[in-house]
């Protein structure tokens, strides 16, 4: 262990190698991982730094992902989807995480949070035209729930949609909307009825609807993801664009969160794995006081603790994915899992940057970006505090 040359002769550490080992994984999962890995290595990883600096990735990436079927996971075949168990979504997220950019999946997969309600609950004519275009990567879709007045308290949102003949007329503001600048379709949560959860509906709005204005937001991370505030000023939407039943949108939005949170947890643990991999490889090369950094107990213990937390999180992810694949909606576990994953990521990002020292603070290091992108994972898709409340309620505490 003390011979630094022996350390450097080792092959690069592959933190992802232990994944996909378990009773739930099949040859199709492995083939999918292989294919996505190559796609990410060729089409995403080489570009993420430039895309982040440019503030966007090319629109054609949606098309490329669409051709690979990456946007079609879990949707019915009649809509251009590929029926696939939840493990495919985990694999997709974790392979995309290897590029070390949160901005790419945030926008590239925004359809993953906006289209499920449309596919399941929209009028047939609407879902049959809209969903296939989005899954093919020809159109971009976003979900607009959060408002300047609040994101966690969805039941009290204030954007209104008033019925006027065969139209709804929308007024209000949405903010922090991923893909908000480029979206062709927006699944918007609006108030159509009285106070609280029972007065909320989902409407599908065209990106070029008259009266809709958008402004871009600058952020701590996720630079290549277009995040926007949307202003609705008498935006008219035909009643056929109601997704599900009037005033029953809250439940649809909540069920939708379950899939989102599982994916976010997988993405987080993917980033944590990148942190571990980068840290091990760096510590093997880096020599301080005449020895490889990885020979120091303080560093080895950091690495072991990272691996410990990541593996525990991965086991929880897979267990929860299995339950969802069985048709259950284990809301408490999904909420706790999301926190487990964001806390693991927070820990691993911190330790990885620390092990890198100054080099981890520089733009261009994967761990630098991941570190900057920890907080949004702990806030978006349900903030940690809200997740704990939800779990406590679900568990009957």
């Amino acid at each position: 262990m003390d011979d630094p040359r022996r350390q450097s002769a080792q092959p690069d550490y592959d933190a992802f190698a232990p994944l996909l080992d378990g009773p739930w994984y099949t040859d199709e999962h492995r083939a999918f991982r292989e294919s996505v890995r190559r796609f990410v290595e060729a089409e995403i990883s080489p570009h993420v730094d430039a895309w982040d600096e440019a503030g966007a990735f090319p629109r054609e990436l949606y098309k490329k992902a669409g051709q690979m079927g990456l946007l079609a996971l879990g949707y019915p075949e009649e809509l251009g989807g590929v029926e696939a168990d939840p493990f495919f979504a985990l694999i997709l997220q974790q392979e995309v995480a290897r590029a070390g950019s949160g901005g790419v999946p945030a926008s590239l997969f925004s359809s993953g949070i906006s289209m499920p309600p449309v596919a399941h609950f929209a009028r047939d004519a609407v879902r049959r035209t809209v969903v296939p275009q989005v899954l093919a990567g020809d159109k971009i879709a976003a979900l607009a729930v959060t408002e300047p007045g609040g994101g966690s308290d969805v039941a009290n949102l204030r954007t209104t949609a008033r019925r006027d003949g065969d139209d709804y007329v929308i007024n209000g503001e949405k903010t922090f909307i991923s893909s908000g600048m480029r979206a062709d379709y927006l699944t918007v949560a609006v108030r159509t009825g009285g106070e609280g959860a029972g007065g909320i509906s989902l409407l599908l709005v065209d990106g070029d609807a008259p009266g809709l204005a958008r402004t871009a937001l600058k952020k701590m991370g996720w630079w290549c993801s277009d995040t926007a505030t949307l202003y609705f000023d008498d935006v008219r939407v035909p009643v056929e664009r109601l997704v599900g039943k009037e005033n029953q949108g809250f439940h649809a939005a909540m069920v939708n969160f379950n899939g989102e949170r599982l994916s976010l947890a997988a993405l987080c643990n993917g980033f944590a794995l990148v942190c571990l991999e980068e840290a091990v490889n760096y510590a093997r090369q880096r020599h301080t006081f005449g020895r490889a950094l990885i020979t120091r107990q303080a560093i080895r213990h950091k690495l072991a603790t990272m691996a410990q937390r990541i593996r525990a999180t991965q086991a929880y992810i897979e267990r929860t994915a299995w339950a969802m694949g069985e048709g259950r909606q284990p809301a408490a576990d999904i909420a706790l899992l999301k926190n487990q994953a964001t806390e693991t990521l927070e820990h691993c990002a911190r330790e990885a940057v620390q092990i890198f020292g100054g080099a981890g603070y520089l733009r261009g290091a994967k761990v630098e970006r991941i570190y900057r992108e920890v907080r949004v994972m702990a806030i978006g898709g349900g903030a940690e505090e809200i997740m704990r409340d939800l779990a406590a309620n679900q568990l009957g505490f």
Binding site: R5, Q7, S8, P11, D27, E28, S35, F88, Q285, H287
Partner: protein, 248 residues
């Protein structure tokens, strides 16, 4: 037109191979295996011929362990129609593989056999040539372009100092070079479809081929080790380090 594409399961091109402790070979336990990259190019070419309406069926063949089924499935997910696995656990040698492929060709009657120009594990670059010889068919090796005509196929070959285009009478054997095409990533729908495609399971005995090795490996050694690198923190550190070494 029917195309037969033999594919080999090899150590993944990203893996840094390590020599076994007893110097008898390279470590294969727990090492990632994939389709030989040149064979991927061969599959891609066959699938493109099918998509262009030139080929009607693409059969993917492998000779290797049970896990080589996964390699065949990769070919099927890229667009192959069905597979044949000749199960054989030990190391394969070009001549025995060529003999098996000859027997399979006799059964399948392909118009074209497209192979990779070599496998990245042993780098032999012999199987295609041996197969053509055993079958008595024309061969176009190191192809960078393949254009089938009426009963013939034009093959542009990468040779020293340039390109050579030859016309072969079909049936023919073609081996794929790196620049022939860029293989696609298998899409999710095609991965799912590949699950339902048929793979026939065979053994060398089914074809009456003797697999006894004709080569023996004496000793495998690591190339000389490179000195460990150092990380520098900044451009000025780099310049200072280069100066110190007398490189600047």
């Amino acid at each position: 037109m029917k195309v037969l594409v033999p594919v080999k399961r090899v150590v993944d091109y990203n893996v840094k191979v390590r020599v076994k402790a007893d110097n008898s070979g390279v470590e294969l336990a727990n090492v990632k295996m994939s389709m030989n990259p040149f064979d991927e190019i061969a599959v891609e070419e066959a699938v493109r011929l099918k998509e262009a309406g030139t080929a009607t069926e693409v059969v993917v063949v492998s000779i290797g362990p049970k896990q080589a089924q996964e390699t065949i499935r990769t070919g099927l997910a890229m667009g192959g129609d069905r597979g044949i696995l000749v199960e054989y656990d030990a190391e394969t040698e070009p001549l025995a593989v060529a003999k098996l492929l000859k027997a399979i060709a006799a059964e399948e009657n392909p118009d074209l056999v497209v192979l990779g120009k070599q496998a990245i594990d042993d780098d032999c670059s012999q199987t295609g040539q041996m197969l053509a010889q055993l079958l008595g068919w024309s061969q176009g090796t190191f192809a960078s372009k393949v254009t089938p005509g009426d009963g013939t196929v034009d093959v542009t070959r990468e040779i020293d100092g340039g390109l050579e285009t030859i016309q072969l009478k079909m049936p023919a054997v073609v081996t794929a070079d790196l620049r022939l095409n860029e293989p696609r990533y298998a899409s999710l729908p095609n991965i799912m479809k590949a699950k339902k495609k048929e793979i026939a399971m065979k053994t060398p005995a089914d074809y009456g081929v003797d697999m006894t090795p004709r080569l023996s490996t004496e000793r495998v050694e690591e190339p000389p080790e490179r000195q460990a690198g150092v990380m520098v923190e900044s451009v000025s550190d780099l310049v200072a380090a280069l100066k110190e070494k007398g490189a600047l």
